[in-house]
Amino acid sequence: MRKILLMALALAPVLSYAQGFQVNLEGEKQIGMGHTGVGQAQDGASIFFNPGAVAMLQQNYVQAGISPLFYKSDFNLSGTATQNYNANKIATPFTGYAVWGPKSGTWKLGFGVYTPFGGLTDWGTSWPGKYSLESLDLKAIYFQPTLSIRLTKFLSIGGGFVYNHGSVDLTEAIPLSNSSGQDGQAELKGSGKGYGWNAGIYIKAGKELTIGLVHRSKVNTTISNGDAIFTVPASLQSSFPQPNTFNATIPLPATDAIGFGYNPCKNWTVALDVNLVNWSVYKDLAFDYKTNSPQLQDTDQPRNYKNAVAIRGGAQYKYKDNWAFRFGGGYASTAVNDGYVTPEAPDANRVYGTLGAGYTMSKHLDIDVSFEYEHLMQRTQTNTYSNLSGTFKTNVYIPGISLAYHW
């Protein structure tokens, strides 16, 4: 009769491909120019940026690149003087593209592998927000076969089917201490898939001006039968049935983009892209556990993201045919409304600047390097779901290198 009823815990894993996770690292040449690429036909990365431009590529390409990403967040719990940093972990967004078509033919085939969304963050097991998130490793790898056709000398179109292989590994603390005072642990780990498409139009509007339009569709990614591992004190384990699995669906938003490339003179290219990212599809995040208990209920947290805009600009200067120097920058508005900021990607409005350089060896091999610095504005928030109240500030540093063989 002195029965205690453990209340349903606020065990509500946070998991989102917030804008912090739209990694925008799909080609070193394009990164160097501030992530522009919709309105240009630079190389095989057009498979991602604008499949319509692929048919306008002068050559065939096989290329690969990697952009190690250093995501450095700082958190200050409201009212305290302590700062918590996420651990130094390096995410590795990568790209691989292949483009082939008959010489001076009107069509090209392409295949792209790239990582448009992903996140790697580790706040450790002793920070104030540990009951919301300890660590998260989230990956989305898109595979995209592509066909692009040149309709006229100045107009080409293209499209590709997208298969996404997504994976997640998330840990958070459960506020139930064992006899030595350690918190319980939840780990949700699984992989899933989703489908979508990517299509674009590319226009040579004049000698100096190129224009691109592209739509990258929403990709609903469903993680099914992921492992839900709960480590709690033995006397409470029956409240957290094991083994257990979970299902969750995360929509990766559609992007509409328009881009311009402008060649004022032989050596210079200037580019401008505007992206509208349709984050408003991300209304809620539901976790459905296979085996429930009074303490382990399915959760459905509101997310209520809003659409976000990114404006990007960049330029390239060609030097002696085989050198290229690039710079760029941009601004992206946050998708996360006030009250919904969570520690897995403490999102905020952001600005960034990029630098890049490329060298072409023996006319066939491009070596490109890029560097990006991204700054997320300081944002002080109280999360409506967890009441975690504090200030986040994030800097991101992304060096990158790619090799492209073309013939």
Binding site: I4, T80, N178, G181, N387, K393
Partner: protein
């Protein structure tokens, strides 16, 4: 060689990147117009860090004054020493440990009886036995909380022989102590800031004994002693913070074993039972009479529910315990409706005194009464942890249902800090609640 050098450059570059951490400029800690260099804490078991029905080292280390003092370090706070039990006597007085649950989900608690600091026992004529604990020999200390002490006892000279926790702080072994608690706190002690959370036991002693084993401290006596105490503590212009007395009905000690739950348990075995009976105070009198219990009557956490329905021989025959007006539940287990009302009336008067005296002296006030009633009504959601006033599952109260868990004490420490900051214009940083644990489960 050339490649090696390149490699070094790359590594150096990466190291440079890892060094570029973002910085948030946090609120600049400030002591405002108070001086926290020597802080002392005055109070009872809550101040001492009592938890799980005992005083032990781990509880002392998480006492709310020690948490406040830790946070005060950022604003010029000094060393805060506590009369800690030694490591080999870490279990102090002994305490309750949660060791499992019954098939029906009731918690099983087991007393910890090893590594105690019990030194012996003396028998005080006219009072009873007093358990004595190993004397604290580490010199001056700042946490002066004495478990069990009432405000009513602060000027009672023999008290140092009647309370083993106080006795261990004093120089002499019982029964030779003659220093009152008030003198102990104020005489010759240098301090610049104090907290005072005395007075709970003046009501709680009565309430936890079901209104049977203790009495409420007279309101006028409370007012007189509280005034004397605060006058003495502020004699040299010291600043401080005081706490009000929680509503006794806000703690799980009185809200866990309910009349409804007992009745439901009985009805499972015998559906014809309509009521359980208690011996209740007749309102407006001092006499007790049996009556059927209602939801407004509070049963204490320690009531042995298995006793219900056991046969008792009475002048009217052999009858089941608790189920007839002739065999009511013993008074000591029940704080009945009228007793609750009386306790609440006294607590309201005590709190009125505390707030009035604090206002006169310009002291900060942590209104524990209001705070804990709000927690009871609405719960708390902090850093993703949902907390409430429920026994064990609520996360705030320890296994005795009255004292707090480390997390509960950290929450209280933050409330004290907020009150101090508001009063003295200081900015003592708050403690991180997530860093303090709740009830430990096996």
């Amino acid at each position: 060689m050339k490649n090696l050098r390149k490699y070094i450059y790359v590594v150096a570059g990466l190291l440079l990147l890892s060094a570029c951490k973002p910085e948030i400029s946090t609120v600049k800690p400030s002591k405002g117009n108070a001086d926290f260099s020597n802080y002392i804490a005055v109070g009872n078991s809550l101040t001492a860090g009592y938890a799980d029905g005992g005083l032990y080292l781990a509880g002392q280390e998480n006492s709310y004054p020690s948490i406040i003092a830790k946070q005060m370090l950022a604003v010029g706070g000094g060393e805060f020493k506590q009369p800690l039990f030694s490591a080999d006597q870490a279990n102090g007085s002994g305490y309750l440990k949660l060791t499992g649950f019954t098939a029906t989900g009731s918690p099983i608690t087991t007393p910890v009886t090893t590594n105690l600091a019990v030194r012996g026992q003396i028998s005080v004529p006219g009072f009873g036995n007093v358990t004595l604990y190993s004397k604290y020999t580490g010199g001056e200390f700042n946490n002066l909380g004495v478990p069990g002490i009432k405000l009513q006892q602060i000027m009672y000279a023999p008290y140092g022989n009647l309370n083993g926790y106080f006795e261990r702080m004093l120089g002499q072994p019982a029964p030779n102590n003659t220093e009152t608690y008030l003198d102990f706190v104020t005489t010759g002690r240098k301090y610049t800031f104090f907290s005072n959370w005395l007075g709970n036991n003046d009501a709680l002693g009565y309430a936890t004994s079901g209104g049977a084993g203790d009495v409420l401290t007279d309101k006028a006596v409370f007012e007189q002693l509280y005034t004397v105490m605060i006058n003495a503590m502020t004699a040299n212009g010291q600043k401080g913070v005081v706490g009000t007395i929680p509503d006794v009905t806000a703690v799980p000690y009185f809200n866990t074993v309910t009349v409804g739950a007992i009745l439901a348990g009985v009805q499972k075995a015998n559906p014809t039972v309509q009521s359980i009976y208690i011996n209740a105070l007749v309102s407006g009198t001092t006499t007790y009479a049996p009556r059927a219990a209602t939801a407004k009557d509070l049963i204490v956490l320690t009531f042995p529910t298995s006793q219900i329905g056991t046969l008792v021989s009475t002048p009217y025959g052999t009858l089941p315990y608790g189920l007839t007006p002739y065999t009511p539940i013993d008074n000591q287990y029940v704080l009945d409706d009228a007793e609750v009302a009386m306790t609440e009336d006294y607590v309201a008067a005590y709190n009125n005194t505390i707030k009035t005296v604090a206002a006169q002296k310009g002291l900060a006030v942590f209104d524990a009464f209001t705070f804990l009633n709000n927690v009871k009504a609405q719960g708390l959601l902090i850093n993703g942890v949902a907390l409430n006033s429920n026994y064990i599952s609520g996360g705030i109260f320890s296994l005795d249902g009255i004292h707090l868990t480390p997390r509960g004490y950290a929450i209280v420490a933050n409330e004290f800090i907020k009150a101090i900051n508001a009063k003295y214009g200081s900015s003592i940083p708050l403690a991180d609640i997530s860093a303090y644990g709740g009830v430990k489960f096996p």
